[in-house]
Symmetry: C2
Subunit: 410 residues, 2 copies
Amino acid sequence: MEIAIMGYGVVGSGVANVISLNNKKVTDKSLQESMNVKYILDLRDFPGDENEDKIIKDFNTILNDEEVKIVVETMGGQKPAFEFVSSCLKAGKSVVTSNKELVAAKGDVLLKLAKENNVNFMFEASVGGGIPVIRPIDQCLAANEIDEVAGILNGTTNFILTMMIFNSMSFEDALKLAQDNGYAEKDPTADIEGHDACRKICILASLCFGKHVFPESVYTEGITKITLEDVEYARSWGGVIKLLGRAKRVGDKISAMVSPALVANTSILSGVNDVFNTVLVRGNAVGDVAFYGRGAGKMATASAVVADVIDCARHIETRKPFGWGDAVDNYVVNHKDVETAYYVRATGDKIFALKNAEEVFGNISILTRENAPEDEFAFVTPVAKEAELDEKLDKISNINVVSKIRVVNY
Amino acid sequence: MEIAIMGYGVVGSGVANVISLNNKKVTDKSLQESMNVKYILDLRDFPGDENEDKIIKDFNTILNDEEVKIVVETMGGQKPAFEFVSSCLKAGKSVVTSNKELVAAKGDVLLKLAKENNVNFMFEASVGGGIPVIRPIDQCLAANEIDEVAGILNGTTNFILTMMIFNSMSFEDALKLAQDNGYAEKDPTADIEGHDACRKICILASLCFGKHVFPESVYTEGITKITLEDVEYARSWGGVIKLLGRAKRVGDKISAMVSPALVANTSILSGVNDVFNTVLVRGNAVGDVAFYGRGAGKMATASAVVADVIDCARHIETRKPFGWGDAVDNYVVNHKDVETAYYVRATGDKIFALKNAEEVFGNISILTRENAPEDEFAFVTPVAKEAELDEKLDKISNINVVSKIRVVNY
């Protein structure tokens, strides 16, 4: 069977690599006589590269070659990926992508196109890199109604938070180290502001709850405001701060958001460190299950792409039913209407303010840290809707709220 | 589509429950018009049970009913499960089982029977209860050569060890608590001596490395000798004691064993507590991935069984290629030839013995604990084959080795 790869960057070259390195296993598992990369589409030249002779510049070569049954899209971004992928599906070719931006923005359209043309559109690598996530949720948890999905979905921010927690590095220093290690890009915005995690929770929520969720509808908060003081208070509370993407069924709607969160040390999510990712799924029969591994990296991500290629090859005649439905309006409830507890750090007249906070909230857990300034204090509120908590916080007189982080119970 | 369940115990009744509770989703996912439990085979009566009218006593009713396409085996044990499952496969019915004893002892024979009769034989629930493990390894990691597989595979022993680690309970008290909570049976031998974990690592090793592995060929050691002293030393070393099943590719053979092991706090396995299980897989492309969840329990296990039922229903005409090859002689290397480090606790003339140990081993890490008796000491050896380590231990004069636990690097 002939395969084409579009985009010969980190993941694309990893895909070529895995298909070549494990060719016997890939071929056997595909139930094919051979699995061969015929073309690699990239505008750049790769002189001396082992796949140099496969590099092409014209997308139409792939589109018009009937031998090519499976196309791998590892270009990233929406343009021209969306156009290319659409054309391939319409031409009766199955498509595998690692492109989370494309799936989050256009998954509904592309899944429909795949169905209409009786081909497969798969994207295991778009969430959690090499970690099996999409297929286990779709197939292994098929007997469950899924109630919640949550996870550490971005390796860069998890690395930064890990350095802050274990090595007491500042956010800025940890970010610099992540960049030096190649874990963060020169412009780290998409990672540290939570946009990358947002795309992934959109894909997971679409899969778990059955309707397409667009990134624009998901409240997203990054980790740039987290300080070592917050890390210390989280420790005294008995937990750690993690950047979580999470979504939950709420009647016939869902809640969905990306934000830093206090996670208790008893949670499996608290022990996920460095660049590792974990996706936790809560099903009505199975309870909590979690999937852990490297959320990025050339070979790990390529491993997931090639697993999809194998699945497409096995289902080349009989399309595999997979996907979700169209988006519906007002499907994601406003985060202000979501119940949570807050961790709050503030400055002011400590004794007076804490007494006031207790009166307003009814009950708070006061946290302490060593060497805290006289006028600093921190506490955890009871659970209520965010809007209600914010209203109550406003009622506490003469305090300056420095940090406000959600507390979760995974 | 009509389904029969053989064995209406905890798991069997859970299966009936999940198919009824989530019937719409189960039916949709199965691509069938209906999914219905027609018979439940059990020798007992269940007066007043919601499925009372489905209970039958004669296996032939199932065997001879052509409407029944999928049979669920949740009886446990080998007799008469093996005979019943074989007959169903020969009669052209797909079989789903949660019976790890059956799969570990007879998986090779039953997989062959399924292939010959063009039907499916599936057993996701036989390892890790509801955790998706078998299918992700088979499908999602299909692009990898798997180098190692290891896991916390038994919830009962993990609960006992968790109580010892966090609550300083003795082994005996923790076992009693496990029995009181319904986590351990009256006769806990299969759990605490490692036999249950052994069956599961056999299934995982067979799947990961392609040849059937029999429990008899796997060195198995339980947790009955673990004491709070060992738990304390493990803590001072920076880790915890867990009962692990593990297997590893060694040339064209494998190593496989079940034993307590020192796991570092940096490992994801160290944070798996209570009755939770985790399976860790090390692939040549993906690196480490892990699957976490409840390893037992009625609804969790039933969730995995029903996922297999759904998969069988989807592949009722086109058998899903899945399984492994026959066992081969001398495939599992003797544990004495496996490389490891040992944690050793001993009594004797402390200063003299530790000096002697350093001379013999070249290099050891000495561990300490509070309130240790004068004549007690503990250390971790370098890595070498077990036979060599044992030989060197014998050379240390005048010491009495109390505990010897393997140290792992997952």
